[in-house]
């Protein structure tokens, strides 16, 4: 991939390597050069070796290639002429106020030269890797330069006063680095990289707009604490709409002559499957099982979806008025075709239930839930055709609808708990939109948008039929079952219908008093690249028209959906809007493409090894990820930089960010468990025991 003229200006000091075969006589320009960001990977895979005499990009621009060279050849004096010399002085230009850390082993008596010091730009990473710690007593490069060492010092050791001969501590001064003062567009920002005893006095007269001033400490994604703001104009949050959810706890599910709810027992008509099977010609048979916690250790076909049982009161539409919900019970859709092939085969979650479910994830059952598990058999070979998974969902919904109809008739007094969800708009706060990319490649990669009943089928429009174009929902529509997911492949990363019903990011953003959540956009991910860019450009236009300050883009799973995911972020970012991306990546799902706007990324991985571990919902977006994404977005909106990611996936990054948020906000964030928390089968236990 060649570089753009604009990008090359940002990386003049990097090594120069040609991206494509380059003929003798060619003059090197930006489009001849490879992006240095991928060099480490090329070196790791043995495709390239960087020689010691490699030239820098700023040296080779405009120089002439003297012999034809293959792609990925490093540019050196042997294959290029007319390159610019960089004087040694320039090369060794260092920040003398930075801390002094030795680059090479040095013996007592040696004089320290500029080239002996480690480049300060690497300090952050090195400190993260615990290579050394820069305490206050470490002297600066300026102070250590040309001094004689009194002891032997190994490489990567910070220089302390006692190591230097004749060292005198400099007069104490306020350490100031990277400090800047900026006032623009009614907002004043003071940025302090590191500071001490700072006293800022600002005449109130120079202020305009809502912000009076803030002191921001640099941190990876720290949520900054605003400095005392005197005349901040506080605008009242505006209540837009509310939704009441009435909950009734179910403790027992049984079969009976008719579907009914008596007290805490739900009875299902025992011949309900005879009706459900008529939902579609493709459905050959259907049976239901009631899985109580003592049957969690039984075998099940692949789990296609997990759905709440909820219904609207009166004629309310999804997202408005009142919803009745049964707690402690869920519908689980499973199925195969007539040949016994799982619907949604490819990494399916068939097997012993409790070994394949990460309990308590937003999209998964909670431990203790009773499952009404349907097992739908569809026509042979239909498991990979679009009508197949849809028919399985439709047939299962016939059973759920019968329960919903009974719930509608119940006396309101039976619902022991009432919950009110309120959507506020917060004028004056940073306006934010959540963009959820949903699968739209066909078959099970489809979602029904806004059915009549929460997570129902009737009335829902498949996003594939809508052309996968962006559709705006309000947060309450999302949290009221406005999305019926036919669910993706990849059990660990797919977002089941219950996930949207309990979507943590929508909940967190809606309830966050620091941001003004304007809506949730659902955009499908089509198969063909041109369609991906079509929907992505429409998304960009919508987000532009919304005039938001920030956006969070999420996707489920990995694969070609990462192409449009990256494009969505680009379309939003290029409009000057801060954007945070969320996806499962880990080790296995690394992004296939990237662009310069993808700098704020949150990985939803929870699995120990960073892989799709086939445990239902393990790697889906949880509250802890939502909190990180919002923290990162708010931090970006405040103008803070986010650290460059490490080259390889590392679960510690997430933990560090969570700790920073906990410290800044003085809150405790519960970490969710991963696959280590679920039981191994007896056979596997025995096998592991035998190995030890």
């Amino acid at each position: 991939m060649s570089l753009s003229a604009e990008h090359v200006q940002e990386i003049l000091g990097e090594n120069a390597v040609v991206c494509c075969r380059t003929q003798a006589g060619s003059i090197i320009a930006a489009d001849n050069l490879e992006d240095p960001a991928i060099f480490p990977d090329l070196e790791d895979s043995g495709l390239m070796t960087i020689p010691a005499n490699i030239l820098k990009i700023e040296q080779v621009l405009g120089a002439k290639v003297i012999k034809t060279i293959d792609s990925l050849t490093p540019l050196t004096p042997e294959n290029i002429e007319g390159y610019k010399e960089i004087s040694v002085a320039v090369e060794l230009e260092i920040d003398e106020t930075a801390k002094a850390v030795l680059k090479f082993d040095k013996k007592a008596g040696e004089i320290l030269k500029a080239e002996d010091f480690e480049n300060p730009m690497h300090f952050e990473k090195m400190e993260d890797s615990n290579l050394f710690e820069l305490s206050n007593e470490v002297v600066t490069i300026g102070d250590a330069l040309d001094k004689k060492l009194m002891t032997n010092v190994n490489a990567l050791n910070p220089i302390k006063p006692e190591m230097l001969e004749g060292y005198q501590a400099p007069v104490k001064k306020v350490e100031k680095m990277n400090n800047s003062f900026k006032q623009s567009g009614g907002m004043m920002r003071i940025r302090i990289g590191e500071g001490k005893d700072i006293d800022i006095q600002i005449p109130v007269g120079i202020m305009g707009g809502e912000y009076v001033g803030e002191v921001v400490e640099e941190a990876p994604i720290a949520v900054p604490t605003a400095a005392p703001a005197q005349a901040v104009v506080q605008q009242e949050a505006k209540k837009v709409r509310s939704l009441v959810k009435r909950h009734h706890k179910i403790t027992k599910v049984d079969f009976a002559e008719e579907t009914k709810i008596e007290g805490n027992t739900l009875f299902i008509r025992k011949d309900v499957c005879d009706t459900a099977v008529e939902a579609s010609d493709i459905v050959k048979s259907i049976k239901i099982e009631i899985i109580t916690p003592d049957r969690y250790n039984e075998y099940s076909e692949t789990i296609m979806d997990v759905q709440p049982i909820a219904t609207k009161e009166e004629d309310f539409k999804v997202g408005t008025g009142a919803t009745r919900v049964l707690d402690g019970v869920i519908v689980m859709v499973t199925g195969t075709d007539e040949n016994g092939v799982q619907i949604g085969e490819f990494g399916s979650s068939e097997g012993i239930l409790e070994e394949n479910i990460l309990w308590g994830r937003p999209g998964a059952p909670d431990k203790g839930d009773i499952f009404i598990k349907t097992e739908v058999v569809i026509s042979a070979g239909m498991n990979m055709e679009r009508p197949g998974p849809y028919a399985a969902h439709k047939a299962s919904d016939v059973i759920t609808q019968e329960i919903r109809n009974v719930m509608k008739e119940l006396d309101e007094s039976i619902f022991e708990e009432t919950e009110e969800l309120v959507q506020y708009r917060r004028p004056g706060k940073k306006k934010v939109v959540v963009v959820k990319e949903i699968m739209g490649q066909g078959a099970m990669h489809d979602n029904l948008i806004l059915p009549v009943e929460p997570v129902g089928v009737l009335g829902g429009k498949p996003n594939v039929d809508l052309g996968n174009v962006p559709v705006m929902l309000n947060p309450l529509e999302v949290l009221d079952g406005g999305i019926h997911a036919l669910t993706c492949i990849g059990p660990a990363s797919k977002e089941c219908s219950r996930h949207y019903y309990r979507e943590p990011l929508v909940m967190e953003a809606m309830n966050d008093e620091d941001v003004d959540l304007c809506g949730v956009i659902f955009v499908g991910s089509p198969q063909v690249n041109s369609e991906k860019f079509y929907v992505s450009e429409r998304l960009g236009m919508i987000v532009e028209a919304l005039d938001v300050d920030g956006a969070i883009v999420t996707t489920e799973g990995f694969g070609n959906n990462h192409i449009d995911f990256a494009s969505h972020i680009e379309q939003i970012g290029m409009r000057g809007i801060e954007v945070v991306g969320m996806s499962f990546c880990g080790v296995q799902g690394a992004l296939v493409v990237g662009n310069k706007y993808m700098k704020h990324m949150v990985d939803n991985n929870k699995s120990e090894e960073g892989i799709e571990n086939e445990v239902l919902s393990c790697n889906t977006l949880c509250k802890e990820d939502a909190v990180r994404a919002l923290g990162m977005l708010k931090s970006a909106l405040d103008g803070n930089d986010v650290k460059t990611p490490e080259r390889k996936w590392n679960s510690n990054v997430k933990e560090n960010n969570l700790e920073i948020i906990e410290k800044s906000n003085d809150v405790k964030i519960d970490r969710v468990l991963n696959e280590k928390s679920i039981p191994l089968s007896e056979k596997r236990k025995a096998k592991m025991g035998g190995n030890q």
């Binding site: 097997g351 679009r386 959906n561 089968s681």
Partner: protein, 88 residues
């Protein structure tokens, strides 16, 4: 992955799309090197996907990473085969 000994030896593969379904695409690998069935989500295409189109990708050799067998999978395969027999 750390347990692969030859993971860095990348070979280029070519194939022909043999089946296109709403959820899955199958391909024969040229040189009688096998078949591949992948979800559509894992296929990148600038064109509408059709039977007969050529596909390409790079892969390393497939290595067995351990002598152990995973009982969970064996049970799954058994359960599926039993079911197929019943269906037949």
């Amino acid at each position: 992955m750390a347990d692969l000994q030859y993971g860095d030896k990348i070979i280029e593969m070519r194939g022909i799309v043999t089946e296109v379904h709403d959820g899955m695409v199958a391909m024969d690998l040229k040189g009688r090197l096998g078949t591949f069935r992948i979800p559509r989500r894992m296929l990148i295409s600038d064109y509408e996907v059709k039977v007969g189109q050529e596909v390409g990708f790079r892969m390393s050799f497939v290595e067995v990473t351990s002598d152990e067998v995973d009982e969970k999978y064996i049970n799954k395969i058994k359960a599926m085969n039993d079911k197929k027999e019943r269906c037949e």
